[in-house]
């Protein structure tokens, strides 16, 4: 038997926008200038476009991944002035006048970045979807200079989820590169 409890009216998706602007007007687009992997790009973007969507949807730099869009997984990690950030939590318009580095810009003229090579050698991935974020995050972590031990690496890489569970190999790969650095 079915009992009818009543009629509910619901707003189906919570929207931070509603209430802020008068109804049915869209935010204006402006020219946003982004420096990505050394090249300057001009885009016509509304302020609501995240850096992640600007990269993926407008510049087709799809190496940066979307795993949650909520700052909870690290798949979207890029480097802004050498610091790792979650690009899904950042609006594109906020990152003008910065140097943005994505996975596509990591390899130099002489080939792959040492971390990229180490990830391949150590099989530090499976599906590869978290991989660009892991690698960018590792570059950022090394730049920060706080990781001294294996446990430090594990802790400081914990903002990047790998659902495939490649963690042991990710740590091996990073450790190898860090030793190379300290030997250099």
């Amino acid at each position: 038997m079915v009992s009818i409890l009543g009629i509910l009216t619901m707003q189906t998706t919570l929207s931070p926008e509603s209430g802020v602007r008068p109804k049915n007007t869209l935010p204006e687009k402006n020219t946003v200038t982004l420096t990505i992997n050394g090249s300057v790009h001009q885009l016509e973007l509304a302020p609501w476009t995240t850096l992640l969507d600007a990269l993926r949807e407008y510049l087709h730099l799809t190496g940066t991944k979307k795993g949650c869009d909520h700052g909870q997984c690290g798949a979207c990690t890029v480097l802004v002035d050498g610091k790792r950030i979650n690009s899904c939590l950042t609006l594109a318009v906020m990152k003008q006048d910065t140097e943005i580095l994505t996975i596509e810009g990591l390899a130099g003229e002489n080939g792959l970045h040492p971390l990229q090579t180490a990830f391949i050698e150590h099989d530090a991935y499976q599906c590869g979807y978290c991989t660009p974020g892991q690698i960018c995050s590792a570059v950022g972590m090394i730049n920060e200079g706080h990781a001294k031990t294996t446990d430090d690496i594990r802790e400081l890489m914990s903002g990047n989820i790998c659902r495939c569970g490649a963690y042991p190999h990710i740590v091996d790969a990073i450790e190898e590169v860090m030793q190379l650095d300290s030997n250099a």
Binding site: T62, C68, Y125, Q126, G128, T131, M157
Partner: protein, 743 residues
């Protein structure tokens, strides 16, 4: 020539993955693409009485809102909606009518010029419902449990075997008994990549679809049937898949919605789900199991009863093999096994890594540990005492079973001999240390598949089959097999997959791809080799004029005489003399059923685990673990190790972290984000070790492989729960073992 198989070859798709060049379903650049945003039901049961879309539609750039009210007519019969992995029942049809069957049901698709606009427009849509009482509480409805309906799927997932001996009498007579109720929570796959489909609308209404799926041809079949299209007008491509773990075995609803919109609008459409929406389709079902074991004083197990109750939806009977494992692992003369379903107002559950196996085996293996403790026998010894080389229910010998070696090598590597059997006997600082172990088992199956092998005009080998690589290493191992079969350098071999235009392959799941597609690749390359040899023999002044196929071998891209390898013809030469045409061969490989039916076939494992339990906080950490695997021949120890490590991480996740929590007031999974649905992060994973014991199997399939996708997870949860018992003296039978259960 064996040059690559068995070697730790780096992934052939490695560079693509570390440079960001690997393209996943939502990443294809398509001109004039529009974006869809799915609106999900807020209620779990009832009827939509009104959907107000005007406000959204008035926005410039919003193209259409598709709902049940304006959708086109589609296929009528349930059969058209059945995919290769559909359980018995009536498949869910998005936008079919106003009826709501589960919380999060897709009820509308907003299509707009940009992603941001579609998302915003979705927020302006108002939905009114007539709400009905939903039932999502599993334990409250156990009394409704019933036998599953049988269907085609029951062939692959047989119901429990008939009772053996007389359980009731044997159990009553057993001097040592244990019994317990084991609960495993619902879980969601949550691959890192969200489900997405990019539908490219082409000339003459043809569709090319980039889809996240574990079977391009499964998606092709579904789209063709539902939308009444011919196969040749629907091409599905899935070159890279950002994890799936079973969630891609059935086409997900974004595929349906994206195709519907593309056809109606005659435009290319992309639909990606949100992480929240990743909790609105198939999942591992919550399952309750009762186990009773009876044994004699010397540890011989004489009786088992294993009853399982699992959740399913109201519209399909999803089943798993949960209770059948005891007959495959232990020679217990008296057994009674049952499996029943409780239909609820949720979406149909779906195969998730080691479906059924990692539900049933951990419960069984905890019960065995309880028995070992009660008997005062070492857990490894008890398992050795009750060892069998036969599957009791099928009454067949194993084609190979090196589980004994797994116990021996795993225990040795772990240092198991130093274990003090007494719970709470070891401390480290303020933590209790526990050691536990368990057995794992998973089927080693093979299906039919096809593959094409082509020697291209520039002398390279190109092999293809419509299978998938969800991170398992399919690309790499198939390349290795192909290179060795035709004696080619691996750099000259290209293996392609994930395209419905390629030769037929089944959905990629159940750890059967290495065997299934690997055999097809081998056969196709062998057939191509025969053809090339025939061509070489016909060449002018051929050195093989009087030779037979048996007299030659394929090495370094040449065909060589075995008796004198310096007598050779290069493959390049053969193709050069073929009038500028490539040489190709397409072959089918089918399992040798006549041979296989005489054997039981499984991969086995043993996991040994150390946990550290903080007595004050109830927190558990797996500080180290060793898994020894008997998985037949290992094609690539590097990718194989990754598979097992990944499985072990999943085992830790299942034992300690993962759980989809339903709020029964709303009938909705509440922790639908990666912040609240806990999976291990890097710091949760300490020292994991993998051993592959030697196992030669000439029966299981021509390659002697058993598949490694699931075996790594199966033994871990029980090993961890048993280690927690050893550490604390507390037996937690309800996974995950969160701190509240230990305090």
């Amino acid at each position: 020539m064996i040059t690559y198989v068995g070697k730790p070859v780096n992934r052939v798709d490695g560079v693509a993955k570390v440079t960001g060049k690997a393209k996943y379903a939502a990443e294809y650049k398509v001109p004039d693409l529009v974006h869809g945003w799915v609106i999900s039901s807020e209620i779990a049961k009832g009827t939509i009485t009104r959907i107000q879309t005007d406000e959204a539609l008035q926005l410039p750039g919003v193209i259409q809102v598709f709902t049940h009210e304006n959708r086109p007519d589609l296929a009528w019969f349930d059969l058209s909606y059945k995919d290769q992995d559909a359980p018995p029942g009536s498949p869910f049809r998005p936008l079919r009518d106003a009826e709501i069957k589960f919380s999060g049901q897709p009820i509308a698709l907003v299509v707009a010029e940009t992603l941001e606009l579609a998302r915003y427009a979705a927020s302006l849509i108002r939905v009114e419902y007539e709400v009905e009482n939903h039932e999502t509480e599993f334990e409250a409805h156990l009394s409704r449990a019933r036998d599953p309906k049988l269907g085609l799927a029951s062939l692959l997932k047989p119901p429990p075997p008939k009772p053996r001996g007389n359980f009731d009498e044997a159990f009553a007579a057993a001097p040592v008994q244990v019994s317990g109720e084991y609960v495993h929570s619902a879980e969601h796959h949550n691959p890192m990549e969200m489900f997405a489909s990019t539908v490219v609308y082409e000339k003459n209404d043809k569709l090319t679809i980039y889809d996240k799926t574990q079977g391009a041809q499964n998606s092709q079949l579904y789209v063709s049937q539902v939308f009444g299209l011919s196969f040749k007008d629907v091409r599905v491509i899935s070159s890279y898949i950002g994890g799936a773990f079973g969630s891609g075995l059935r086409p997900q609803y974004q595929l349906f919605l994206a195709v519907l919109a593309a056809r109606e609008l005659r435009r290319s459409v992309r639909v990606s789900l949100t992480r929240q929406q990743m909790f609105t389709f198939g999942h591992r079902p919550v399952t309750i199991q009762d186990i009773k074991l009876g044994a004699s004083e010397d540890g011989t197990i004489t009786a088992i009863r294993h009853d399982a109750f699992a959740e399913t939806s109201r519209f399909e009977d999803y089943t798993e093999i949960v209770v059948n494992w005891s007959g495959m692992l232990y020679p217990i003369p008296n057994s009674k096994l049952t499996y029943k379903l409780v239909p609820l107002d949720v979406f149909t559950p779906l195969d998730m890594r080691a479906p059924g196996g990692v539900t049933g085996v951990p419960a069984l293996e905890c019960a065995i540990d309880e028995l070992a403790f009660k008997l005062g026998i070492d857990p490894v010894e008890l398992r050795l005492k009750n060892y069998t080389d036969r599957d009791m229910d099928a009454d067949l010998p194993y084609s190979s079973k090196e589980l004994r070696e797994c116990f021996r090598q795993g225990a040795e590597r772990f240092g198991w001999a130093n274990r003090n059997p007494q719970p709470r006997s070891t401390r480290r600082g303020h933590t209790l240390i526990g050691w536990g172990m368990a057995t794992g088992i998973w089927d080693a199956t093979q299906g039919p598949a096809r593959a094409e092998a082509v020697l291209t005009v520039n002398g390279k080998l190109r092999v293809s089959s419509a299978t998938a690589d969800i991170g398992t290493g399919t690309y790499t191992i198939m390349t290795q097999i192909a290179a060795d079969t035709l004696g080619m350098p691996i750099a000259d071999v290209l293996f392609k997959l994930g395209d419905s235009d390629m030769p037929l392959a089944p959905i990629e799941g159940g750890s059967w791809t290495a065997a299934t597609v690997g055999s097809a690749v081998k056969v196709a390359c062998e057939e191509l080799g025969k053809k090339l040899f025939k061509m070489a023999r016909k060449m002018k002044n051929s050195p093989f004029a009087r030779a037979n196929l048996d007299d030659v071998l394929f090495a370094d891209a040449h065909i060589r005489l075995k008796s004198d390898p310096s007598v050779a013809v290069s493959l390049r030469e053969i193709v050069d003399q073929n009038g500028g045409h490539a040489v190709s061969e397409t072959s089918t490989s089918t399992p040798n059923f006549l041979k296989l039916r005489k054997y039981a076939r499984s991969a086995h494992s043993a996991a040994f685990v150390e946990v550290e339990v903080d007595e004050d906080f109830g927190t558990v950490r797996v500080t180290r673990a060793v898994t020894a695997v008997a998985g037949g021949r290992i094609l690539n120890p590097k990718t194989a190790r990754s598979q097992i490590l990944g499985g072990m991480v999943w085992g830790i996740s299942k034992a300690l972290e993962e759980e989809s929590v339903l709020d029964h007031q709303f009938g909705r999974f509440m922790n639908h984000s990666l912040a609240e649905y806990h999976v291990p992060v890097n710091a949760d994973i300490q020292n994991l070790d993998v051993i592959f014991v030697d196992e030669t199997d000439t029966i299981v399939n021509p390659l002697g492989v058993k598949g490694l996708g699931e075996i790594g997870i199966v033994a871990m949860p029980a090993a961890i729960a048993n280690a927690v018992f050893h550490a604390t003296g507390k037996r937690i039978r309800n996974l995950p073992i969160t701190l509240d259960k230990l305090l």
